[in-house]
């Protein structure tokens, strides 16, 4: 599954259309604690699901080679977060559903591929 496949899931919207969506999705990880993300994400091209709207998410995404970040529960990333994501080529998505529900819809979609 690739990041661009997230566009086909109607509950998930892309907020950085300028950024390439060509990276693969190797794994999913959900957390709102950055040190937890740093310490536990093992694979590059992991997608992070979070409600943490902070510029530091982008630094973590770059350092861990995350393939995308999905902001859940209706959280919309702020302008500075979006600007930094574009600069660093990290695709951002937003969804009104929870991170757990988002994992479910992504896994269900992937099983159909």
């Amino acid at each position: 599954m690739k990041v661009m496949d997230l566009l086909k899931i109607d509950k998930i919207r892309c907020v950085t259309p300028e950024v390439s969506l060509d990276k693969p999705i190797v794994n999913l990880y959900s957390s709102d604690l950055l040190s937890w993300v740093m310490g536990h994400v093992r694979e590059e091209n992991t997608v992070l699901l979070t409600v943490l709207n902070s510029i530091n998410i982008i630094a973590v995404a770059v350092l861990l080679d995350l393939s995308a970040v999905i902001f859940c529960d209706g959280v919309m990333p702020s302008e500075d977060v979006i600007a930094k994501a574009k600069e660093e080529n990290i695709p951002l998505f937003t969804t009104d559903i929870s991170s757990a529900q988002a994992v479910k819809v992504i896994v269900r979609y992937e099983s159909l591929l």
Binding site: D32, L33, L34, S35, W36, M38, G39, E44, L52, S54, I55, N56, I57, I58, A59, V60, V62, L63, L64, D80
Partner: protein, 135 residues
């Protein structure tokens, strides 16, 4: 090669700058992805620690093809109990830091678990964290 950086207190926007610089340096020198991952984790956590806990400090990166040594030093207030600070889940982070996703109490444990050599010295004058990676 030696690179020196200044770290400003409470400047979360800049946090990640040094770790990103080091990552790019290692990528350019074709260091293995596994090592780069460990270096990224340790340097980001150490950088964040200086930003959210100290009055400011600096970072000195000493790179050669065999070894990467990074020293983070700050001007206080120091760590009262290093043993507690090294315990997973223990945190003294401020509300501001917690609101930005920090304060999980995983910073120093993540650093120690990621590097090949680790040293920490602290007094009320400041803290010095030294991390070494064999390349």
């Amino acid at each position: 090669m030696i690179y020196t950086f200044e770290i400003l207190p409470m400047n979360l926007e800049q946090a990640g700058y040094i770790s990103s610089f080091i990552k790019k340096l290692l990528v350019d020198n074709k260091i293995s992805k596994m090592v780069i991952r460990r270096v990224s984790i340790a340097t980001y956590e150490a950088e964040i620690n200086v930003v959210i806990h100290s009055y400011g400090g600096k970072c000195v990166v000493d790179y050669n093809e065999k070894q990467l040594k990074i020293v983070f030093s700050d001007t206080g207030p120091g760590i009262k109990n290093i043993e507690s600070a090294m315990t997973e889940g223990f945190s003294t982070a401020s509300t501001y830091a917690r609101e930005n996703g920090f304060g999980a109490g995983m910073g120093l444990p993540n650093i120690r678990n990621s590097c090949d050599e680790f040293d920490i010295q602290s007094s009320d004058k400041g803290t010095i964290v030294t991390i070494i990676f064999n390349l």
